[in-house]
């Protein structure tokens, strides 16, 4: 492997350096019909699952074909996307916020032809490469984080839990038979890089054991005051220990105060939390972001813990499927999952979804907890 220089000269790092130029302007990448009718769209329709029609004030029409992806994608896979775009959509392609692909085509026939083509592409292992769907009152692609593929704090995998879930709800990705859109999100630790705190259904990796303290290394690797300050519950304090006759500066942790957030680990690598038995998943439901009819809402924890069961997380997918099916059966048209639960009452939600209510579901974290307790005698048996 010979080193290939790009032109960068490490001896003169500033020579010819270009910085702070930001992204390219999006205008360079708009398909002609999009560019021409920018800001002048009249209305849209979903022709069939995965195919949208947009009609401009000028009368111009464009058809969008939407397909799911695994988000993690190789350059070989992206090259294949480019070939499809060159062949079908004039060399343009778009990614959505939820990691779907979108191709613009000119006619309904072309859209259907492209849909058939995309649905026909499979990996040797059997899965689709570009399944078409993700529109309207259904489940669209799951936004998710890095998990065991690439992050240092995950309590579970992201790509695997998402694959397992999407396999189970695939029918709802390709059809539009739910009462309203259902957004599923996944984050592999409480940092929630995937912002699952406002999703209809959320998969969240959680730790359940306090950090292990690597006393002999801690002082070399970490700033003790930073680790102490990082703990939101004040569980960490400076301390000293003696090991084999030597005294080390380190920290002590009041374990009963730990809520397993991993902040201390972020500040100090000598405080790892990961644990094969301790880690797993919490399931949250009923969040939303849109202002449609009801206000945006936070997701609520309805299952405090299911164990990690790689590769397919069967307990987790069973719970998700049950919640989704119960909602689909019971909710009114246009009613988001959380609005349905609010209407029937959460006590009913647990009953209908056959989920046990445990003490772990009663909030005990600071002030906001109070607003989740019931301050009325209106409740249901």
């Amino acid at each position: 492997m010979a080193f290939i220089s790009s032109g960068y000269n490490p001896d003169k790092p500033m020579e010819g350096r270009i910085s702070d130029i930001g992204p390219r302007h999006f205008g360079e990448y708009l398909p002609p019909v999009i560019k021409k009718n920018f800001g002048k769209w009249d209305y849209h329709e979903i022709i069939e699952p995965g195919i949208l029609l947009h009609v401009a004030e000028s009368g111009d029409k464009t058809y969008t074909v939407r397909a799911g992806t695994a988000r993690l994608m190789s350059v070989t896979h992206i090259r294949e996307i480019c070939e499809i775009a060159d062949k079908f959509s004039g060399g343009y392609v778009r990614f959505t916020t939820r990691n779907n692909l979108e191709f613009q085509v000119e006619t309904e026939e072309a859209a259907k032809e492209l849909k058939t083509y995309l649905n026909g592409q499979t990996f040797p292992g059997g899965s689709h490469k570009f399944p078409v769907g993700g529109t309207g009152a259904g489940v669209t692609n799951i936004v998710h984080t890095q998990g065991w593929v690439h992050c240092h704090t995950p309590a579970t995998d992201a790509s695997g839990t998402v694959k397992a879930t999407m396999d189970v709800v695939f029918d709802d990705f390709q059809n539009m038979k739910l009462p309203a859109p259902v957004r599923i999100s996944m984050a592999c630790c409480l940092n929630m890089c995937g912002a699952v705190h406002c999703s209809d259904i959320a998969i969240l990796g959680i730790h359940r054991k306090p950090p292990i303290i690597d006393h002999q290394y801690l002082d070399n690797l970490c700033e003790i005051p930073l680790a102490v300050a990082a703990c939101p519950t004040g569980a960490v304090r400076p301390s000293k220990v003696e090991i084999d006759g030597e005294t080390y500066k380190t920290v002590a942790i009041k374990q009963e105060r730990c809520m397993f957030c991993g902040n201390c680990y972020t500040m100090c690598p000598s405080l790892p939390l990961s644990d094969g038995e301790g880690d797993g998943i919490a399931i949250m439901v009923g969040g939303k972001i849109s202002n449609r009819i009801t206000k945006p809402a936070f997701s609520k924890v309805v299952v405090p813990y299911v164990p990690n069961e790689p590769p397919r997380w069967p307990t987790m997918t069973k719970v998700i499927k049950k919640i989704l099916d119960t909602y689909a059966e019971d909710a009114n048209k246009y009613e988001r999952l959380g609005d349905w639960a609010n209407r029937i009452g959460w006590e009913r939600f647990f009953e209908k979804c056959e989920l046990p209510f445990t003490e772990h579901l009663i909030d005990d974290f600071r002030d906001p907890a109070y607003y989740t307790w019931r301050q009325t005698t209106q409740f249901k048996w």
């Binding site: 220089s5 500033m14 190789s74 309207g136």
Partner: protein
């Protein structure tokens, strides 16, 4: 031939949803074959080793990535996230495996020329694996070694005129919905504003100077397709002031069943004939719609612009013409103090390209000045405003106080009056007081 046995991961190759395992395997094969004869700049077998280390995580239920060290390109504090494997002897291909964040074109439109140029760099100098895209919105190149970082940056900036995104305690890569490019609901040009602010604040993006991360997101309307209200420290959400425009003929076509409601979003199931009373009038959260004698009327003063009626009948109802955005502040995920939704700071703001969005920039800079002064280390602005109060933020932002900023007035009378609020101030003379009151 696969380098490592991956019996658990192999089970994720079946099932309909695209398999990331199959894709990584295909990349591993392509690199092993190397039909183009590339002189790969990082270990050829890194996709194999990534599968190997992931299989190990699947077996023992724990991550095998170490805490990131400080790596990056010269002069930047963000854009690269250091990553090292904790079993380097078993998986040397991914011993050093840093993430590079690359600025995406706003709205995530691409042509194949750009995509091919991006992957060309990453095929040669990285793992060949990406996230399209990360949750914040940027392109994520997964896995390279330290000596390649400057080379990648050089090629991105010189050959593609593209920069790195943000990471660390700075402005993160701003993200936007597709807005006016393909959505009739967009109340302002989200992409242009996103682009403009991204360019304006390049320094803040690349050189951490804030207490913690800061995110802008731009939604063209209250539907919130990039989730601005939940995921950004400052959310710019399109809105309007004047009446919703009603086309009565199209309303009749919905009622008559000629046009499917909600743009056909419910087509997968038989919900019965469209019932305008039940599906629109009764669901309006502010009860401001009526439908009598075949005419739809909206008492627009009472409308809260929730979008429901418009979403349900997009061909009959259009957002008004006096458009701008609402600005909300302080959304964040639960770490540290629990989740926060953005709180309404400015109910309506013009989005004016002609003066280069000056009003928005003034607002942003006022808020940053306050937060940089008052915010504690690793405190999101949502936490600062919770600690010091919404009124303090409003004051710092230099915007008027408005009943719209609250859901309801305060519950307690513990008002922090200031001396200047009270006639005569706070300085009083005890001797004067004693003239009126005996000890």
């Amino acid at each position: 031939m696969a380098k490592h046995k991956t019996p658990l991961l192999d089970q994720l190759e079946s099932g309909p949803w695209p398999s990331f395992v199959s894709d990584i395997k295909q990349e591993a094969d392509a690199r092993a074959k190397n039909e183009k004869g590339l002189d790969y700049q990082i270990p050829v077998d890194c996709p194999d080793d990534l599968l190997g280390v992931l299989e190990m995580s699947y077996t023992d239920g724990e991550t095998h990535w170490k805490h990131g060290g400080i790596v990056g390109v010269f002069g930047y504090g963000g854009g690269v996230i250091g990553r090292y494997c904790d079993q380097p002897q078993m998986f040397p291909g991914v011993a050093h495996f840093h993430t590079v964040r690359v600025a995406q074109p706003n709205g995530k439109w691409y042509n194949t020329e750009l995509l091919r140029n991006l992957i060309k760099i990453w095929e040669l100098r990285g793992s060949g694996l990406t996230n399209m895209h990360g949750a914040t919105g940027d392109i994520v190149f997964l896995g390279t070694t330290t000596p390649q970082l400057e080379e990648i940056f050089w090629e991105l900036t010189h050959d593609l005129e593209i920069d790195l995104g943000g990471s660390g305690s700075n402005l993160r890569t701003p993200a936007t919905c597709l807005g006016m490019s393909r959505c009739e609901y967009a109340c302002y040009d989200t992409q242009e504003l996103c682009y403009n602010l991204t360019q304006e604040y390049q320094d803040e993006l690349h050189r951490p100077a804030f207490p913690y991360k800061f995110k802008f997101k731009f939604d063209g309307c209250p539907n919130g397709c990039v989730a601005a209200i939940a995921r950004s420290d400052l959310s710019f959400i399109g809105t309007w002031k004047d009446p919703i425009k009603v086309d009565q003929e199209a309303v009749a076509a919905y009622v008559g069943g000629e046009i499917a409601p909600n743009a056909g979003a419910h087509a997968g199931r038989d919900w019965g004939a469209f019932d305008i009373q039940k599906e629109v009038v009764d669901l309006c959260p502010s009860n401001c719609i009526s439908y009598e004698d075949g005419k739809l009327a909206i008492d627009h003063k009472e409308c809260v612009r929730c979008m429901h009626c418009i979403n349900t009948m997009p061909r009959a109802l259009k957002v008004g013409d006096e458009r701008g955005c609402s600005v909300l502040c302080g959304a964040k995920a639960p770490i540290l103090d629990g989740p926060q939704m953005g709180s309404l700071l400015v109910p309506f703001m013009e989005v004016n390209k002609d003066d280069d969005y000056q009003a928005i920039k003034d607002l942003i800079e006022n808020i940053w000045d306050w937060w940089m002064e008052e915010g504690k280390n690793r405190e999101r602005i949502g936490e600062t405003m919770k600690r010091l109060g919404m009124a303090a933020l409003i004051d710092a932002a230099g915007v008027p106080v408005d009943a719209r900023q609250v859901q309801e007035p305060r519950h307690n009378p513990y008002i922090f009056w200031k001396a200047e609020d009270v006639e005569g101030g706070w300085d009083r003379d005890i001797n004067e007081f004693r003239k009126r009151h005996q000890r």
